[in-house]
């Protein structure tokens, strides 16, 4: 055999091997699943569920790929451009419209209509996902809801003879009362670094009771008087009832302050329950909903809804759908949400004993299902929402904390940017 022939044979073998990734000789189908937030918290949970699924469906093999949440949107964009998307992908509503805009996802309305899951998923989450896709079709099946909460130190409140706050007035007063600077103890922690402004807006809307981010004509409600009032009052706490380091705080530093015993209250979402409960235990940590403002109305800015999508380019969409259905079935959805401490999307799970014993999740589910709760959903479908609220605004919020920019100017600047972006987008999305 000449050298050229040998090389050709080797190449043919290699290409042949690569080509049979989808359907193996024994009739087994392999599908790829991308976890959009891979890591020590979630990967083992998925691996367990995949093993269960493969036992139930011996003809389907699931290949798990864990991707860090910070780079997952880029990975999807690259995969779409290169034609190498997975069969099933974990997605959240914060970048769903980006994927839908690139025509990468298969609509799931018909499949859901014929599925036993049809009436099982929490309607408000299904609506949320439809809205976030941009064209009201269903491109993502929700698996969990995640709500902002105030984590607080039960033991410190008990020592001080205080009840956990239900209004912002109470929270701000408690923050001052629980502060003892000489003992390096503070009542509250302000998130001033990465991720600050989204959290701040969630606080502002819960205080002002504004029901939506934009008026009908695309004007941002961000600078509503109630919002300005709340930002001013929170900024006034900084450095007095909060550690001075808070101006740079991202998630990690905030959690370190809380678990390290230097702050009494911390605003985050159910996502931190694992870190907090592991460090301090359920006797010392409790969760309450974000307080209400002077109107007394409960307004909630939900976090992006996590779920699963089936990619259009996949060769094995039926197998992919089977896997998604399995992940959202009562047992899997129950196991999953119990492990990660979030609100299950499958309503059959709500009767499970673990959920009723999990105070933060049960409390958040109660808020989400209460009739008088208004959901002020953030405009995740607006492509410039994230750059404006993160890259542009986070340093400016630090100026508010440091006292070199007023809350009023800050929110009006932000509102002007959001209004311009929303109108620009509306006039171009066709």
């Amino acid at each position: 055999m000449s050298r050229a022939t040998t090389i050709a044979v080797i190449l043919a073998c290699v290409l042949g091997l690569a080509g049979c990734g989808g359907g193996d000789a024994d009739g087994k189908v392999t599908i790829t699943f991308w976890d959009n937030n891979g890591g020590p918290g979630r990967t083992p949970v998925f691996q367990h569920l995949i093993a269960e699924f493969e036992r139930a469906e011996p003809d389907i093999h699931v290949e798990y790929v864990g991707i860090p949440s910070s780079s997952v949107q880029q990975k999807y964009d690259t995969a779409i451009a290169g034609g190498a998307t997975p069969d099933v992908g974990g997605v959240t509503t914060s970048y769903l419209s980006d994927l839908v805009g690139q025509d990468a996802l298969a609509p799931l309305d018909d499949r859901l209509a014929g599925s036993p899951l049809r009436d099982k998923l929490l309607p408000s989450l299904v609506d949320d996902v439809r809205q976030a896709g941009g064209d009201h079709k269903l491109y993502e099946l929700p698996s969990s809801a995640n709500l902002d909460v105030i984590w607080y130190r039960k033991d410190w409140f008990a020592q001080a003879g205080l009840q956990p706050p239900s209004t912002w007035d109470e929270l701000l007063a408690d923050a001052a009362r629980l502060t003892d600077r000489s003992a390096n103890r503070y009542g509250y922690t302000v998130r001033g670094g990465a991720g600050s402004v989204f959290q701040l807006l969630s606080e502002a809307y819960s205080y002002s009771g504004q029901p939506s981010f934009f008026g009908a004509d695309g004007t941002s409600t961000t600078a509503a008087p109630g919002n300005v009032d709340l930002v001013r009052r929170v900024a006034a706490l900084y450095g007095k009832a909060t550690p001075a380091a808070d101006v740079n705080n991202g998630y990690t530093q905030m959690v370190a302050e809380f678990t390290g015993g230097s702050v009494a209250m911390m605003h985050h979402n159910l996502g931190s329950s694992g870190d907090l409960l592991k460090a301090l235990g359920p006797d010392k940590v409790g969760a309450i909903p974000l307080p209400v403002g002077p109107s007394g109305k409960r307004t909630v800015v939900p976090n992006p809804t996590d779920g699963f999508a089936v990619f259009k380019a996949g060769e094995h969409q039926d197998a992919a759908w089977k896997f998604v259905q399995f992940l959202l079935s009562k047992d899997s959805n129950s196991y999953w949400n119990q492990q990660v401490g979030q609100i299950p999307a499958n309503t059959d799970v709500y009767a499970d004993a673990w959920l009723r014993a999990d105070q933060p999740v049960e409390m958040a589910l109660g808020v989400l299902r209460a009739k008088d709760t208004v959901l002020a959903t953030a405009p995740f479908a607006l492509p410039r929402f994230s750059p404006i609220t993160k890259a542009d605004s986070e340093p400016r919020y630090q100026k508010v904390l440091l006292g070199t920019l007023s809350a009023n100017d800050f929110l009006h600047g932000l509102a002007d940017e959001l209004t311009a972006a929303e109108r620009d987008w509306r006039s171009h999305k066709g």
Binding site: A245, N248, P387, K390, A391, L402
Partner: protein, 290 residues
């Protein structure tokens, strides 16, 4: 004849090719994108921009000027202090004394620590609840909860000290290597002529170190200008843009806000500044004429 004429070109071809792939193409593509509107979040407006990005940058973007000014201050302070301290340490560990080997190892050790670990160490040292300032407060010096990285008045010196810790060994290593190449008879001759210690340093040591100093300050200035890891992890450019260098601003515009056209224009500006500075510096120090 023709073979001999082509040989040199064939021999340098691999280098030229590698340079083209790894230098010319990336620089060229950044220059190209700097003339484009290329913003992922406003894809309908993408296309040729002419000089729009540069006009925006030079005339309407105060943060560009602020970050460029901070970069300049950062480079001058860092390189100046690193050179002085590095030279001092090199002179000390060049002397003969008991424990010199250990002293040298200690001087060089920060250089062996990776950038991310360095910032990890300094984040812990500056931690207001557990770090060095909390220890000082417990001993009655300063107040508890002092956050040097959160206070605009102290964030600059705090970051400068952290970067000094990592940067000084570079100068110390380079200058020590050069110090050891100075023939001892020069010092002997100077001593015989009655030169004092200071005169020996000024007349013998410094002229010998000239090239090493020129080259190392230039290299270090470029590195410090482009420094991202330490500031990004220590402060993220904050608080309130107080420590945002030009490269950090580029990262925010291009990576965080997905505006690659404007990010490319900012990068081009940084490239031009460095190019101008390098040529000027080499000319002024007459490095290329020797």
């Amino acid at each position: 004849m023709s073979r001999a004429r082509w040989t040199p070109y064939v021999l340098i071809a691999p280098t030229v090719l590698l340079m083209a792939v790894f230098v010319v193409y990336p620089v060229g593509s950044v220059a190209y994108y700097s003339l484009q509107h290329y913003d992922v979040t406003r894809s309908w407006a993408n296309g040729f921009a002419g000089l729009d990005n540069f006009r925006q940058m030079l005339l309407h973007d105060p943060l560009f000027w602020q970050s460029l000014g901070f970069s300049a201050r950062w480079v001058v302070v860092e390189v100046g202090l690193q050179l002085l301290l590095g030279l001092g340490l090199a002179l000390i560990v060049n002397e003969t004394f008991v424990g010199r080997g250990l002293a040298r190892a200690l001087v060089f050790s920060p250089w062996a620590v990776s950038g991310v670990l360095t910032t990890g160490i300094w984040i812990l040292l500056y931690n207001p609840s557990t770090g060095v300032f909390q220890q000082l407060a417990a001993a009655g010096i300063g107040s508890p909860g002092t956050s040097v990285l959160g206070d605009p008045a102290t964030v600059f010196p705090a970051t400068v000290v952290a970067e000094l810790w990592r940067g000084v060994p570079f100068f110390a290593i380079l200058l020590l290597a050069d110090l050891q190449g100075i023939p001892p008879d020069l010092y002997e001759a100077a001593s015989v002529d009655g030169a004092t210690r200071w005169q020996r340093f000024r007349m013998v040591t410094l002229p010998h170190l000239r090239d090493a100093i020129v080259l190392s300050t230039l290299l270090r200035a470029v590195w410090e200008f482009n420094n991202v890891d330490l500031l990004y992890t220590l402060t993220g450019g904050g608080p309130a843009d107080q420590t945002t260098t030009l490269p950090l601003y580029v990262a925010r515009k291009a990576v965080d806000a997905h505006d690659f056209g404007y990010g490319s224009a900012l990068t081009t500006a940084g490239f031009v500044v460095l190019l101008f500075f390098s040529v000027l510096y080499l000319r002024l120090s007459k490095f290329d004429r020797r």
